[in-house]
Symmetry: C2
DNA sequence: CTTGCTTCTCCAGTGACTGGAGATTGTAGC
DNA sequence: GCTACAATCTCCAGTCACTGGAGAAGCAAG
């Protein structure tokens, strides 16, 4: 089988070279064999593993969760409840983040909309920041 | 005027003590006078300044932006366009974040919903992570 | 053989805190 | 005055997931 140099792996997987080395250093990607000149040589499957990792990162999973997911993916006979649980946890996290951001958005829209764009003295942006009581939905 | 110790300031402002010291170290909060025994002594206005900072942090402004906003707040005669611009920038950022999160949510909901919760082999969560092509709206 | 590209290791920096160690200061009760 | 105990001091390391630079070494083509 044709082994890949790290640059090739990087291009094929869409993961930057320093990131690949970083993943190896934290044990997320197994250390590959080395050439005579000490360069990393990856088997073709490494592309798939890295793409898996990248996709999970894009969905916002933390490294620890990805480690579990990647391990589970190697074990086709196991029940998938743990994988599903990790996904549901991430979903909850996302929903919390979205609602926090939505509250921030609401307040910013109001601040910006209310401001007549005159002097600082009458600026609604500064004014609202200065007095949290002026933001009614104080839930952030 | 009654000066405040850092613990009092912390309670009144809702900002933790190490964070107050950190803000001082990065020049966001001016260094206060010291007591004979080298403790920090804050004027009452410090509470307001810290609350302003906290409110801005809660809205997700970065420290650099807050530095500008807090400086502007001291200058009531200036036009407020810069403050408004910073707020609009933050709003744009928020909206980008929300849409990224919404895309992630959509994919996770589908993964979780499609999964029959059997073995890993048939798990839609693992399967989708493994092949990004299986997520149609590949926009994350 | 030289040029230029790739890769190597090691280390420091990012942002915004957070917390621990170990020393000192302040205060209240006895 | 003495003794607890609380509050504060400085300094430093750790968090998360990378990112990039320095300086050295390997490798392929002309
Ligand atoms: Zn304004
Ligand atoms: Zn608010
Ligand atoms: Zn499943
Ligand atoms: Zn996807």
């Amino acid at each position: 089988m044709a082994m890949l140099a790290i640059g090739r792996l990087s291009k094929d997987s869409g993961v930057k070279i320093p990131t690949i080395r970083y993943y190896e250093s934290i044990g997320l990607l197994p250390p590959p064999v080395r050439s005579e000149g000490n360069r990393r040589l990856y088997p073709p499957e490494a592309v798939r593993r890295l793409r898996f990792i990248r996709h999970a990162r894009e969905l916002g999973f933390e490294i620890d969760a990805i480690r579990r997911l990647a391990d589970l993916a190697q074990d086709p006979e196991k029940p998938c409840c743990e994988a599903d649980l990790l996904a549901r946890r991430r979903l909850v996290e996302i929903e919390e983040k979205i609602s926090r951001l939505a509250a921030q958005r609401e307040e910013l829209v109001r601040m910006i909309g209310d401001c007549a764009h005159g002097r600082i003295e009458e600026c609604r942006v500064i004014d609202t920041l200065d007095d949290h009581a002026k933001c009614l939905h104080a839930k952030h």
